[in-house]
Structure formats: C-alpha cells, structure tokens
C-alpha cells in the first residue's frame, strides 16, 4: 500500500507491489530464538512451583509474550504494513468476544 518500497513507477501503472528488502540480517533472529528458548524454560520451571490459581495466568502470559516475539520478528509484522497489525487486532477481538460470551453462558449455567 503506502509503504516506502514501491517507488513511483510502480504506482503510475497500478501494477502489483513487488517486495524489496533493505537490510536482511541473521543476528536479530538468532537473538529472538534465544529469547524464546529462555521463555520456554521459564514456563517449564514455573509450572513446577505451586502458584495455585496464578499458574494459568503466568503460563498464558509467557505464551503471549513468546507469540508476540514470533509475530513481530519471525513473521516480520513489526516492520510490515500497519494494515496487517490492524487485521490481527480485529481477529483477536473477535476471539476474545466469543471467549467472554462463552464464559457468560458457562458461569450462569453452572
């Protein structure tokens, strides 16, 4: 769309947007991978401690942080067009709304 990688000649003719990369690099991705592995070991370690009702929250929070890393760096959303972020947001809102509605039903029924 309006991202900086389609130069004028592309716009004039209404052709497709051909992707170009600016600085592909290995390093960042390896760092993200190390981060993901550390978070995995934290999840496993934390599961051994008896946190009671907090355990599920902590496990889900760590999973959420991990997926944010994957989405932003591995899936490149951090550097991508904003429309994709918007789409992900809408998708998550639909999911959460359905989840909440389900739990309204559950809590009133049981």
């Amino acid at each position: 769309m309006s991202s900086n990688n389609n130069s004028e000649h592309n716009d004039q003719h209404g052709e497709g947007h051909i992707a170009e990369v600016h600085h592909p690099s290995y390093g960042v991705n390896v760092l993200v991978w190390i981060g993901l592995l550390s978070l995995t070991s934290i999840t496993v370690a934390v599961a051994g401690i008896n946190l009671g009702s907090l355990a599920l929250t902590v496990a889900l929070l760590i999973a959420l942080v991990k997926s944010m890393f994957v989405v932003n760096f591995f899936m490149h959303v951090k550097f991508d067009n904003k429309i994709i972020k918007l789409f992900i947001g809408v998708c998550m809102i639909i999911f959460i709304v359905v989840l909440i509605l389900t739990f309204f039903d559950l809590t009133f029924r049981y």
């Binding site: 052709e15 051909i18 592909p24 599961a47 899936m75 994709i84 359905v98 389900t102 049981y110």
Partner: protein, 212 residues
C-alpha cells in the same frame, strides 16, 4: 489503467511483471486468520471444559510427558528460526545456505512428528484411545481432556504435514531458480504459515502439558 499496456513511449524502467507480493502476503494473512479462528474455537472449547472439570483436566494432564512436550517446543522454535534464516539467506542471494536452512526446518518438522508418534503410541499402549479400556474407566473430565488432546494435537500435526509440503515445494522452486533474491514472497508465505503452526504449539504446550 489498461491503457498503460499500449503505452507507446519507450520507458524501459517500467516492469510489467504480473506479480503482487503485497497482495500475496495479504492473502496468506487472511487465510491465517481463518486458521486462528479454527484453532480459536478449539481453545474456547478447551477453556470451557477446563472451567467445568478443573480436577479431571489436572489429573489427565499428569499422564503427559512434560519433557517430550518441552523437547517438541524447542524443536519447533528452532525450525521457525531456520525458516527465517533461510529467507534471509535467499534475500542475500545465497541459494545454497537458504536450502541448507530449509533442510534443517524439514528435519525439525519430521522430528516433531516422530516424537508425536511415540507420544500417541504410548497413550494407545496404555489403553487411552476412543473406547480404549483405560479411557472408559476415567472420569468425565479426563475423557474430555483426552478428546481435546487428540483433536488439538492431531489437527496441529496435520498442519505440520501441510507446512512441510509447502516448504518442500518452496525448496524445489528455489532449486529451480523460480524463487530468487528478488522474488521470494512465496517463501515468506511458507514461513508465515510455519510460524503460525509454531504459535499454536506455543499455546498448546502449557495448556495441555503444564496443568497442576
């Protein structure tokens, strides 16, 4: 816009490649959202039954091998990394390195499936399968847990197989120079799909294996 095709002015900078990388990426993302809602439905089902049967779920989850689950998590995270590195290598015009990284991904994916095979095999061996002797003696909550366990990990494993086929096609096209350092969107799409499968596992692992 169609008149531009008959443009008589010689302008050799205009490239009329019928290719839309952004559209291609967008299409794949839209597909990923349907996948998220497919697995999302199962996660909601899981949440609801875990809410109703907290004890049954905890008891059933203790049957699972946390180590095997953790190993599979590491395998999938590594395979996601190698897909990304493969894309970077192709963008840097290093075809051989790119194919090497993708081979590592494929091997990781296969290892994941082998682990799953042994995991499911052990469950079957203990009589935990539909109408299995052990499963029939379990409480309602445990039965629900194992139903969801098989459906969710099974559907996920199916996605691994599809992802491996997708990556295999991409590897073939890299080999044949169909995909190059200036035309890599299909490879990125294969990567996006693979990462989604990874993300689903990131949630499946704590939810199925780490309940106390």
């Amino acid at each position: 816009m169609s008149q531009t095709n008959e443009n008589t002015q010689p302008d050799y900078h205009v490239v009329h490649i019928h290719r839309d990388d952004f559209g291609s990426k967008m299409g794949l993302w839209l597909f990923l959202f349907t996948e998220i809602l497919l697995f999302g439905g199962l996660f909601i089902l899981y949440a609801a039954y875990r809410f109703i049967y907290p004890d049954g779920f905890a008891a059933a989850a203790s049957e699972l091998d946390v180590l095997l689950g953790a190993v599979n998590t590491v395998i999938l995270l590594t395979s996601s990394l190698t897909v990304v590195l493969g894309i970077v290598a192709l963008q840097k015009n290093n075809k051989k390195l790119s194919l090497f990284f993708l081979w590592v991904t494929v091997i990781c994916g296969l290892l994941f499936l082998v682990n799953k095979y042994f995991e499911w095999g052990a469950k079957f061996h203990h009589g935990i399968y539909p109408k299995g002797p052990a499963l029939q003696e379990m409480s309602e909550g445990e039965t629900m847990y194992f139903g969801l366990y098989y459906v969710m990990t099974g559907l996920h494993a199916l996605h691994i197989v599809v992802g491996l086929i997708f990556i295999g096609v991409v590897m073939w096209q890299i080999k044949k120079d169909v995909l190059t350092s200036t035309n890599f969107q299909r490879m990125e799409n294969a990567g996006l799909y693979w990462h989604l499968v990874d993300i689903i596992w990131i949630f499946l692992f704590p939810l199925l294996y780490l309940i106390h």
